[in-house]
């Protein structure tokens, strides 16, 4: 490999991490749509978050100003990303931290595994982090003989259930209380066999189970919601206190962060600490936010490592339109308002990033060819754009990526023919008359041939009119 090639924007490598699904979206969605329990769980959960979030956003008179500021700060970050990362590195280093750079998932996993091995521990406690799921860090730990313990309740449910997360914020959104109780009874060591399915009882069981891990594990891995270049400060927002445990108790803390998470200045948190909780959990403020800068003598981990991850982000940055996907603050508001996500759930998207943002981020991180069905997993209804606290124009991005996606050859031919006819009014009129003659449709209600048959499976076609509008107009 030449130096020039190494320095060119690159997509995330295959064979590691969780950015690529095993099958196209429509096939995975079809299975999810048939799962009545899943549909009910998702419908209830997304409706609940929508209502909560709507109420607390309604309390903020300057919500639109905050969105505009958030969007502009993120655009500024991308425009100055290299210098901001260098500044962040200098500040973290000055505060006693060690900064590592990982060009892709393999490099990041190797760095983190080595750092954990250096502590001598064969177990690591983890705070929920999208970046470490993206790179498949848990699988890398397991291959290295290290046991990763997910400490977020939902991640624990997913881990014990040998399952995959299906939502950015509420990874076990697809499970209801009865299913969670069964998972705990089956897989949680030392669990009380009299466990009920009350959420408070289930949460208490997780508290008891994890307490010992928190107190005895010398190394933790976290992600980061924000990293302030100006001060070297990192921030993690959470609810349960598992984040505080992981960020406070171990001797060594390793934080893995996508390069786009940097923000220029302390005062930028003005904006994001208001946008994120209200857009994501629908709270005025999440119960706990931890901020730390390097190492504080006598308080918290005395060894701090920050791993800065590219893994395809440079390729996203290279696309002038597509780069706005890197504005994402992982609030998941777009999932909760998406009519497609609400019905299919997150697994159908294949990647750790589900929903509308996943449909535009995953294909860009991997290259569109590897996630070619995702940009089409949307009716372009636009609800995601309205909900996004940093104003990512997801419908525009979807359309942009569809233009880059590989197209089925048959479809390309039809589209070319249609475009040709539509640019030739006489041909267009002839095609219209063909429709009227029901050459395609046959009798009312009969099925169209593939690939249009999916439409007529559940809907009747309209009766073709006796004359087109332009025939009527000409006869007036």
């Amino acid at each position: 490999m030449t130096r020039t090639f190494l320095g060119m924007p690159a997509t995330a490598p295959k064979g590691v991490g969780q950015l690529r699904g095993a099958e196209p979206f429509p096939a995975a969605a079809r299975r999810a749509l048939a799962d009545a329990q899943l549909r009910r769980n998702l419908g209830h959960a997304t409706a609940t978050i929508r209502a909560k979030s709507g109420a607390v956003i309604g309390e903020v008179p300057d919500w639109e100003q905050l969105r505009a500021a958030g969007s502009a700060i993120k655009a500024d970050v991308l425009a100055r990303l290299p210098e901001l990362l260098e500044q962040l590195e200098a500040q973290v280093t000055a505060a006693g931290g060690v900064v590592h750079w990982a060009a892709d998932a393999n490099e990041a996993n190797a760095i983190v595994v080595d750092l954990v091995r250096a502590t001598g521990s064969d177990r690591v406690i983890k705070v929920k982090s999208m970046a470490t799921q993206e790179i498949g860090l848990n699988e890398a730990f397991e291959s290295a003989g290290i046991v990763p313990v997910e400490t977020d309740l939902a991640e624990l449910i997913v881990q014990l259930g040998d399952d995959r997360p299906s939502h950015i914020l509420v990874p076990a959104i697809h499970r209801n209380r009865a299913e969670i109780r069964e998972i705990f009874l089956r897989a949680m060591p030392g669990v009380d066999p009299a466990l009920t399915d009350e959420p408070a009882v289930l949460a208490a069981a997780a508290r008891r189970f994890l307490r010992q891990a928190f107190l005895s594990t010398p190394v933790a891995v976290s992600g980061a919601n924000f990293a302030v270049a100006e001060t070297g400060t990192l921030a993690v927002v959470e609810s349960e206190g598992n984040g505080r445990m992981c960020l406070t108790l171990p001797e060594t803390l390793i934080t893995v962060m996508g390069v786009e998470k940097v923000v220029p200045a302390w005062r930028d948190l003005d904006v994001f600490l208001q946008l994120l909780p209200r857009a994501s959990t629908g709270e005025r403020m999440n119960p706990y936010t931890s901020m730390w800068t390097g190492v504080t003598p006598g308080d918290g981990p005395q060894e701090f490592h920050l791993v800065l991850l590219d893994n395809g982000r440079s390729a996203v940055l290279a696309d002038e339109v597509g780069r706005q996907a890197l504005h994402c603050i992982r609030c998941s508001a777009c999932l909760n308002v998406c009519p497609v996500y609400e019905r299919t759930g997150g697994h159908a998207y294949g990647s750790v990033y589900p929903g509308p943002i996943g449909a535009v981020l995953s294909p860009q991180l991997t290259g569109v060819a590897d996630n070619a069905s995702l940009p089409y997993a949307s009716s372009l209804c636009g609800a995601c754009y309205d909900a996004c606290p940093v104003k990512i124009n997801i419908p525009e991005l979807l359309v942009h990526l569809r233009d880059q996606a590989p197209h089925p050859p048959g479809e390309s031919a039809v589209m070319a023919a249609a475009a040709y006819a539509m640019d030739h009014p006489a041909l267009f009129a002839a095609a219209q008359r063909a429709t009227r003659l029901r050459r395609l449709t046959g009798r009312r209600g009969q099925a169209l041939p593939p690939p249009l048959s999916g439409w007529t499976a559940g809907r009747d076609l309209p009766d073709p009119p006796t004359q087109t509008f332009r025939q009527w107009w000409a006869s007036r």
Binding site: V170, A172, F214, M245, R284, M285, Y288, M291
Partner: protein, 199 residues
């Protein structure tokens, strides 16, 4: 090339292919406002924190009313001793180990800032607040806030805080909504939060 050089070169190349325009960030959002104590109390209570508005001389009595008699209470080194009721066992933080902190009945700390809009108290590790672990492991956290520390908004709070101190923002007791979006107070952090609000 090191990974650092590779990544920085990639990012620069990405920006070279389509250079973004310089961005002006609009900052016309609300920075500050009246520090409304009623709002703070309302929002703390809404997120299941217990609020006590008392005079400073009544702090010890108030705490005595919250904790059981002879409770063991973890105390950061700079906490005013007058705040502690005589009935309790005080565990001053002279490098207490985690097991002892976890076994305590409660912790009492001061705070750096409180935010009315969001019902948040922020600890910054000053000597009356102590190491982060002190307010984390005990199941009951009692936090004493002066009115002068209350600000209206998140931006006003950030302006008062020192970034390089370890900061813990606390809005109610620990909670989860991971099971069917049903909010459960109390997971890993303190399951009960009392805020004593002084004039």
């Amino acid at each position: 090339m090191t990974a650092r050089e590779v990544i920085l070169a990639r990012l620069r190349a990405a920006l070279d292919t389509a250079a973004p325009l310089p961005v002006e960030v609009p900052r016309d959002y609300r920075r500050d406002g009246p520090a409304d104590l009623d709002r703070l109390v309302d929002r703390l209570t809404d997120y299941r924190a217990h609020v006590h508005q008392v005079a400073e001389a009544e702090v010890a009595d108030t705490i005595a009313g919250i904790v059981p008699a002879a409770a063991s209470i973890v105390v950061p080194p700079g906490l005013p001793p007058a705040w502690l009721p005589p009935t309790v066992t005080v565990l001053p933080d002279d490098d207490l180990d985690n097991a002892r902190i976890a076994a305590a009945d409660a912790v009492v700390t001061a705070a750096a800032v409180a935010i009315a809009d969001t019902g948040t108290v922020v600890l910054d590790g000053s000597s009356d607040q102590g190491r982060r672990v002190l307010s984390l492991l005990p199941d009951l956290h009692i936090c004493v806030v002066h009115t002068a520390q209350v600000v209206a908004t998140v931006p006003a709070a950030l302006a008062r805080l020192t970034p390089r101190r370890p900061l813990t923002w606390i809005s109610g007791p620990s909670a989860t909504s991971d099971i069917e979006l049903t909010r459960v107070e109390g997971v890993h952090g303190p399951r009960t939060l009392h805020v004593i609000l002084l004039p």
